[in-house]
């Protein structure tokens, strides 16, 4: 009994134990062939240890030879195990070299069993007892060497070559941790094999007093392999631990996030795109309308999703996973309470690391969910307000392209919504104004303010069918991220203009009617005005006939008569012209006028009437009166009315009857005209309402006169009012704005 008897069984047991452990690992995790290879190697090394022990304690040459022959079997298995381990686990080494090593070793078993006693000896003649360190002896053979032994040695050399090649290529091809592992395993294998060779040489030389053995060296190889595999197991365990820790952290983070965002009414969710697995936080479930007891269920989610929005959601996911990873959409979902909510989801796709071809596989989407029903309702209300507005609304961007359209815009322009969206707004302007519109739009963009477009000017828009319509346009600039947009509201004023025209027509007709009534009242006076020149003409003509009959004829008198006839003919013509002008039923014709001329015109018409009524006229006209713009006939009508009213008011006055006509320019740049009588005055109760229609203080008349005067003065942008005089009678005033410049067309 020596230390060999203790150490060798221990080495064998250790090897077999390691082999057993890795066999079990391989058995549990079938795909890890490296563990099987290790088990093979381990069992071989263990078996070798037993064989070596038996050989060292052999007592006969025959038994030693048999043991040595059979020992080559586990040795071959061990070498195959090593080669396979290096190839399979480290993925280095040349395959053909590995195959060659294994094949050569298997082939070497043929001479092992068929020639001599074994591969090493043709014949073992005797055993000698070799003393070893530490006391005791071990058996060693003496005999005739087998020439085939060279084959076995060659396979060992080949194995060394294989390992060196694996080491070199491993160092070249790999980096970092992996390179270190290759160096450790291959290096240690080479090292132990060289050590084994050195050991053998030392024993044969007699410098080392120890048994001739390979087992310690291959046990070292086995330990290196075991360390490597054990490292793998450790790493796996570490990874698993880390993974569970990070998962726990993630869950914790998600819970904390959920708590944090719960207050904000935001839920969290994630969706695993690989395993098609989803998770939604508690708040998220509540927002999606899941009742408290309900668990998240994707099938149910899709069931409750609004039928119109399923496609929207799918395309949003598709866009996010195939594009930049930003996921955002809005959809409707009906909760278990039956209420349909608008939901907004935002998320981010996580991808795996890009492979060589640059394609990234989407792994999962994480994001938030919130309910936006109120916002959507507000938006819907706003949309309805815009949509149902009686004014046509267009939103136009900086380029002039239409971005928003309402129903009325479709009606006004005759284009469909689809036509209008994206159309250039210039298309809606008549061709003849288009160039100017383009310029004006550019000018507006330069300094945009809220204003009415072209105020005081007639604006025209163009319908789809090419017809034009008068419009009123208001512009409101809206500045946003995408530059400046302009909200354009367009009112179709065709109807209003038609009404304006109609009321102007009615006003003119009423004014005419009122004039006819007025002239009927003045018929006596007008007949007188016409009779005067006719009388003069007749007298002169008959006188001329008589002067011609004289002998000799008085030609001087005849010439004077003819001159007078011509003058009076003209005078009669003037009277008729004035009368016709008053009776004419024309639209108002505004021209440049001198108000004093109008006053004098009126006096010519009414002169004889005033004489008949014994009314004196006092004229107080400012000679430097500025011109006004107005309709001569209508202004005559106003003055005629006022003068006749004044005259009527003095019908019962026995003292001197006097009408004062006064004109002057006001400080505000208007022409002021007043008609003052000394009559009965206006009852205080009536002074406010005498300008209303059908109000009359006279016993005759229809009470339209002053109402018509008001409407005439208003169309002249003037004002009219009445006041009783301090002493007696009343004064009616009116003012009309004076013309600022002389660029307007004059009457003649």
């Amino acid at each position: 009994m020596n230390w060999i008897d203790i150490v060798w069984p221990m080495m064998g047991a250790a090897s077999l134990t390691l082999a057993l452990i890795h066999l079990l690992i391989w058995f549990k995790q079938g795909h890890q062939t490296a563990h099987l290879m290790f088990a093979l190697t381990g069992m071989s090394v263990g078996t070798l240890a037993i064989f070596e022990l038996l050989m060292m304690t052999a007592t006969t040459a025959e038994s030693y030879g048999v043991l040595l022959r059979w020992m080559h079997v586990p040795f071959a298995v061990m070498m195959i195990g090593i080669v396979a381990f290096v190839r399979l686990h480290l993925q280095v080494g040349k395959l053909w070299l590995g195959v060659l090593v294994c094949a050569a070793r298997l082939v070497s078993l043929v001479p092992d069993f068929l020639t001599g006693e074994n591969l090493n000896y043709l014949e073992i003649t005797s055993l000698r007892q070799v003393p070893i360190w530490g006391g005791g002896f071990v058996a060693a053979p003496i005999g005739v060497p087998n020439p085939w032994a060279i084959l076995g040695q060659a396979t060992v050399v080949l194995l060394l070559v294989f390992l060196v090649d694996a080491l070199v290529s491993g160092i070249r091809r790999t980096t970092g941790e992996y390179r270190r592992r290759v160096m450790l395993i291959c290096g240690s294998m080479i090292g132990f094999m060289l050590l084994s060779a050195a050991w053998s040489l030392a024993v044969i030389n007699g410098t080392l007093h120890a048994p001739l053995t390979v087992n310690p060296a291959f046990l070292g190889v086995l330990l290196a392999m075991s360390y490597e595999l054990g490292g793998d197991v450790l790493r796996a365990a570490q990874l698993a631990k880390n993974l569970s820790a990070s998962e726990a952290l993630l869950r914790d983070t998600e819970q904390r996030m959920d708590m944090a965002v719960r207050g904000a009414g935001i839920g969290l969710w994630s969706r695993d795109l690989v395993n098609e697995d989803s998770w939604v936080s508690e708040t998220g479930l509540r927002l999606l309308g899941f009742a408290a007891h309900e668990k998240w269920n994707r099938a149910q989610f899709y069931e409750r999703l609004h039928p119109e929005d399923g496609e929207v959601l799918q395309s949003a996911i598709a866009a996010a996973t195939s594009g930049g990873g930003e996921f955002a959409t809005e959809y409707r979902i009906t909760g278990s309470d039956g209420r349909t909510r608008w939901i907004m989801v935002r998320g981010q796709v996580e991808f795996d690391e890009a492979r060589g071809d640059g394609i990234r596989t989407p792994l999962r989407i994480r994001g938030i969910v919130s309910e936006i029903s109120e916002r959507r309702q507000a938006e819907e209300r706003l949309r309805l307000v815009v949509e149902m507005s009686p004014t046509a609304l267009l939103m136009v961007d900086e380029e002039g392209l239409i971005t928003l359209v309402n129903r009325q815009a479709e009606i006004v322009f005759g284009y469909s919504r689809q036509d209008l969206a994206g159309m250039n707004v210039d298309t809606l302007v008549p061709h003849r104004l288009r160039d100017r519109h383009v310029d004006e739009r550019a000018a507006y963009a330069a300094r945009a303010t809220t204003r009415t477009m072209g105020s005081g000017r007639e604006l025209s828009a163009r319908r789809k069918d090419g017809s034009e319509l008068p419009v009123e346009i208001a512009l409101s600039p809206i500045r946003g991220d995408a530059g400046m947009a302009v909200l354009v509201s367009i009112t179709d004023i065709s109807e209003r203009k038609r009404a304006d025209r109609e009321s102007a027509l009615q006003r003119d007709e009423l004014a005419h009617l009122s004039r006819v009534v007025l002239l009927a009242e003045l018929s006596g006076s007008l007949a007188h005005e016409l009779n005067q020149p006719l009388t003069a003409i007749l007298s002169n003509a008959q006188a001329a006939v008589r002067f011609l009959a004289h002998s000799p004829p008085n030609l001087d008198e005849v010439r004077d008569s003819l001159t007078n006839i011509v003058e009076n003919d003209k005078r009669a013509g003037e009277v008729i012209r004035r009368l016709r002008a008053l009776l004419r039923k024309d639209r108002a014709d505004h021209r440049r006028l001198d108000m004093n001329d109008v006053v004098l015109d009126v006096l010519r018409i009414i002169r004889s009437d005033l004489l008949n009524r014994n009314v004196d006229v006092v004229l107080d006209l400012e000679p430097t009166l500025p011109p006004i713009e107005g309709d001569r006939v209508q202004l005559q009508q106003v003055l005629l009315n006022l003068v006749m009213n004044g005259t009527d008011a003095m019908a019962d006055v026995s003292a001197a009857r006097e009408i004062t006509l006064h004109t002057h320019e006001t400080a505000a740049g208007s022409v002021h005209v007043s008609v003052t009588d000394v009559g009965s005055g206006i009852p205080e109760d009536d002074i406010e309402r005498i300008f209303s229609p059908f109000v009359t203080t006279k016993t005759s008349g229809i009470g339209l006169g002053l109402a018509v005067c008001v409407s005439i003065i208003q169309t002249h942008r003037g004002t009219i009012w009445a006041a009783n005089n301090p002493a007696r009678g009343a004064t009616v005033h009116f003012t009309i704005p004076a013309l600022g410049d002389s660029s307007h067309p004059s009457e003649e």
Binding site: G524, A527, H528, N531, Q532, P533, L534, T535, A536, I537, L538, S539, N540, Q542, A543, A544, R546, F547, H550, N554, E557, D560, S561, N564, E567, N568, R571, S608, L611, N612, N614, D616
Partner: protein, 130 residues
């Protein structure tokens, strides 16, 4: 009545309208009678001399002193000059009023020369224009 008498008489024409007044005056002159035009009733009444022979052609519609006033004044003065009223205003009320005020005749403007001369002749007993 002799031609010499006729030459001494005068026809007073009172009308504020220049054209009408001068027309009448020319017509009167054309039959060789003295025409005395007045632009207002005031001047006529002021210059009126008692005892003159002739006839007054009086307009009604005049500022301040109208034809009516003038007729009343002449009546008041006891003038025996015959007055022929010539007016464009021709209605029953006017005719009745001027007749009451002592006018011999009412003629409506415009007036034919022969009608005027006949009226003068009838009012004065002359035979003008024959």
């Amino acid at each position: 009545m002799s031609k010499a008498d006729e030459r001494s008489l005068a026809i007073y024409i009172v009308d504020d309208d220049d054209d009408v007044r001068f027309g009448f005056a020319r017509l009167i002159r054309s039959v060789g009678v003295n025409a005395r035009p007045y632009a207002s009733a005031e001047t006529f009444l002021d210059e009126l001399v008692e005892g003159e022979q002739g006839c007054v052609l009086l307009d009604l519609t005049m500022p301040r002193v109208t034809g009516h006033h003038a007729l009343a004044r002449l009546k008041q003065l006891g003038s025996r000059l015959p007055v022929i009223v010539i007016s464009a205003r021709d209605d029953e009320v006017t005719r009745a009023m001027v007749r009451d005020l002592g006018a011999k005749m009412f003629l409506r403007k415009p007036v034919d020369d022969q009608a005027l001369l006949d009226a003068i002749n009838w009012a004065t007993g002359f035979s003008l224009g024959r």
